[in-house]
Every structure is written in C-alpha cells, then in structure tokens.
C-alpha cells in the first residue's frame, strides 16, 4: 500500500538542518551544487531557532536564524526534506546511496496552507517539546510559530481520532491513513551535521534535576527568556512565581568524570552569562548568581561580555555546587563551598536554578548506525586530520560540521560548516577527474 519509492539525486547529501547543516547547504548551493538536505524534525533551524538571544552580540536568535532558514527553503538548488529519517548511507563506486524515510505528518503537504485551523480545532493537549515541556501543544500542531515549513504534524500515538481537524481543514489535506514514504537518494558527497544533545538533567543525582520542578535546563531557560516563550515572561514552573533570586550551576554536565563527561562543553559559561544578563534586563531587581569553577570566555568579544556582566551586578561565585535540595515551597537549596571568602560549606536558597548542562553528541555511529564513522574517546565523531582539516571524517567523501565533532558555539559551528562545504566541493571536483 505504501507508494513507490521516490528516487532523488544530488551533488551533496546534508544530514541535519540545524545552523551547521543550513550553512553548509547554503555555502554549497550558492556555488551551484545540488543539495539534498534532510532533517528529522518537522521544522528546520535546529537548536538555534529556539534560543532567546545569542552571545556576545545579544542578537535575537530567531531573527538571525529565520532569514537563513528562509533562504534554504526557497533556494532553487536545495531540495529540503523535513520530518525525515536517514536509515542508511552506503558508499559504492564512489557514490553515496542513502535510504531515507519520510515520516507521515498525516496530511498532504502540497495542499496544506499552514492556516492552523486544524490545531485550533484539536482538543488534545500535549507537552510541547519545543518549549522543553514547559508549554503545551495540540496533538496536531505546527512545531513553533516561525517554523519552516509551516506544516503541522499529527501525533498519531496521541490522537483521539475525533476527526475535528479534518473537518476544520479548508483544503481537506488531512489523511489519517498516510504511510511513511521511502526515498532512495544518490549523492557524490555527504555532510553530516547532526548536532548535540544536552547531558541528561538527571545525570547528577545530587542535583535532583529530574525531581525538583524549579531546577531547570538551560534550554528551558532559553524558552523562558525568548520573547515568544511559553509563559510570556520568566516565571518558575512550580507555581508561576516571578523569581527574585536565580542561580546558575556551572559544569553541571561537563568537566566531571563521575558523569562520564570529562571534557569542557565550551558554551555553558557564555550561555549562562548571557542568560544572566537577559534576566537582569527583564527582572531588574532579581539577584542572579553564577556558581562556577573557571569562567571560560575564550572567544572573540567573550571576555568583554563577561566583564560587562560583572559590572551589571551579576554575582560570580567560585564554587562547585555539591548538592541541591528543596524546601516545602519548592525553593531549591544549593550547598556550596564559597571558597573565595572561606573554606566552609554554606546553604543558599534560590527561587529558580538553572543547571548549566553540557553537550553530548546527538547521534553516535556505533549506537545509531546509518554510516560507520569513527568516534573519539568523547563519543563525538572523530576528525582524522584535526589540525588542518577538522571536518574530515574517517570515511572518504563524508564530512562533519558543527557540534557533531565536539561541543562548539554558533560562530565556530558556522565557520566549520563553511570549511566542510569547501571540503565537499573540492572532493566533488577531485572525483570528477576520475
């Protein structure tokens, strides 16, 4: 009953449409290469589109990502597949063959006009993963307001099968019986840009990140700070209180061998400082404290950003938080050794606590298959010529960009995506000669 397999051909297959994949695709497509860009989520934009603002410029993340997303979506040389999984990529005779599955959204994308009438009609509420469960969505919904493309996804597992959405749709595009669509693609080169996950919020038991409602992840804080966030402001999840005292716990998921993440995640210091600055902007009287080991503001303009934050009155306390508990009002209590003043442990109560979690690879070859790339000790995809050509993977013709090779901030990701595009283009050219 499933439709015949669709055949596609491209110069380069790009896996992942976060900022790295978008940038690599654009850099290649603008050179005239045909790109097949595959994204597993319903919208492109990756992690970046859901951030509040970016450091150190404090540009609105969505404002600088949306144009790039739109350029990709409208680019004549980019064939974009969203809500699509890559199952396998194989290299035969110098060409890559990918088997790809387009997951059913349960609607006809060619007919959908993105009007959201289905979403309004739907009565089933679910936690919204784009707001990291802080907010709600419907069983049929468009991922987020500025999603690209503006097609909803129907969550068949949660659907009541009431038919309200189908009745509301002006184009009759809903199809409850839709099946996955198989796609076979051939490409001359591959760029992998599958991104990162945060370290599990439950990883450090002493922090109770999965138990205490007011101990949240940094991506949740991003949503609270975003102008279109779930609460319409910074409030805490347990009861909607506007917090007076907010703390950031640095290295809550990095530089910790007991968590199996011995490396530094590079971005946590800066995003915490950024969030702290944004908080002090929106909650001018709130006390904001960052508990840290070393402030790693190493990038261009980052140190100055850090010094500005200090000048704004954000408290930087050199201490690693040992444990977190909470009182009867769900106020988190941190236990720290405040070593700058004395050597003694101290308990401090805050209204809201952000665990500055680190980065782990979202996709790991030996766990998730698809394509057999070598990984390093840190489980990220390994570069075989790290100094000179960081985007080179262990497989000829496959290049990696962004956080799939290690933690990285946006600017380093974009630079590396450009470098990966260059490598892919040059590889294609070298293959032509053969």
């Amino acid at each position: 009953m499933s439709a015949a397999t669709i055949q596609k051909k491209a110069d380069v297959l790009v896996v992942g449409a976060g900022i790295a994949g978008l940038q690599a695709s654009l850099d290649l497509a603008d050179q005239g290469k045909q790109i097949l860009l595959v994204e597993s989520q319903p919208s492109i934009g990756g992690r970046m589109i859901n951030l509040s603002k970016v450091f150190p410029t404090l540009d609105c993340a969505s404002c600088i990502t949306t144009p790039r997303m739109a350029s990709v979506a409208h680019h004549p040389s980019i064939d974009l597949l969203t809500y699509t999984e890559v199952n396998k990529i194989e290299r035969t005779n110098g060409k890559f063959h990918a088997s790809i599955t387009k997951k059913p959204r349960y609607l006809d994308e060619t007919a959908c006009i993105g009007c959201k009438r289905c979403e309004e009609a739907c009565t089933t509420f679910l936690p919204d993963e784009y707001d990291h469960s802080l907010g709600a969505k419907k069983a049929i919904s468009i991922a987020f307001t500025n999603a690209i493309p503006q097609y909803p996804v129907l969550d068949m597992d949660e659907c009541l099968l009431c038919g309200a959405c189908a009745k509301a749709c002006p184009t009759q595009c809903i199809n409850f019986m839709q099946e996955p669509q198989e796609i076979e693609a051939e490409a001359g080169a591959v760029i992998m840009a599958t991104g990162y996950n945060l370290t599990e919020i439950s990883a450090k038991k002493q922090y109770g990140g999965d138990i205490y409602p007011n101990v949240i992840s940094p991506l949740q804080m991003e949503r609270l700070l975003a102008p279109h966030g779930p609460y319409g402001g910074v409030m805490r999840p347990s009861d909607g209180k506007i917090p007076d005292s907010i703390a950031f716990v640095q290295c809550a998921g990095s530089r910790d061998k007991s968590l199996g993440v011995p490396y530094c995640s590079r971005v946590c210091c800066m995003y915490a400082i950024k969030q702290a600055m944004l908080l002090s902007g929106s909650l001018p009287i709130a006390d904001i404290t960052i508990y840290y080991m070393d402030i790693r503001a190493f990038g261009k303009g980052y140190e100055q950003f850090y010094q500005n934050a200090k000048a704004m009155g954000i408290q930087f306390v050199k201490a690693k938080v040992g444990r977190i508990s909470e009182d009867e009002n769900h106020n988190p209590i941190l236990r720290v050794e405040r070593q700058e003043d004395c050597s003694q442990p101290e308990e401090v109560t805050h209204d809201l606590v952000v665990l500055s979690l680190g980065m782990v690879p979202a996709w790991i070859p030996d766990r998730d298959g698809i394509i057999p790339l070598e990984i390093g000790e840190d489980r990220f995809v390994r570069s075989v010529n790290e100094k000179i050509t960081p985007s080179l993977t262990s497989m000829e013709g496959v290049f990696a960009a962004g956080t799939m090779t290690g933690p990285k901030d946006i600017v380093d990701t974009i630079v590396e995506a450009g470098a990966a595009a260059t490598e892919a283009a040059n590889y294609l050219r070298s293959q032509e000669g053969r």
């Binding site: 409850f176 319409g232 009861d239 209180k241």
Partner: protein
Amino acid sequence: MEEEKKLSYTEQIKELRARRGEGSKEKQERSKEQIKAQKAILAAIDKEAKTVPEIAEATGMNTQEVFWWITAMRKYNKVTDETKKGDYIAYRKK
C-alpha cells in the same frame, strides 16, 4: 494509495479506531480529564483574575498542573494575562 484516498474521513477514523482497539478508551478518558481540568480553571477565573496559587486553592489542583494549563490556554487564546499581584501574574478567562 488511490484506493485509500477514496475513504471518507469517517471511514478512515472507523478503520483506525478498530485497529487501535482498547487504546481508544484510555485516550478518551484522558481527554475527559483534560476538559475537566480546563473547565475547572476557567470557572475559577471567569469573574475575577487569579494567580496560579489562588487558582490552585480554588480548584484543589496542584500549582504546577494549574500553571501548565494556564500556559496551554494562554497559547490558544482562552486565557489572558491581567495585572501583576505580588510576585505572580493574575490570569483571566478571555
């Protein structure tokens, strides 16, 4: 494919419900719970705006659950923000 398209929505739903079997009931129960929760909260803030702790007290639900529903109904334009009351925002039915 062609054949499937011809099925009307009612037929599609009937077919899928049959495939789903018992699972359907569970989802309908949950839906009833959801509607109940929304109704209770909306009733509490129909006449006057209330904060999350106040709604929780009025409805007997816990604050975290109330707040999630407020967020949900805020998003779908059923609830609107009113004035700030202390450290909390008061919400009113739209």
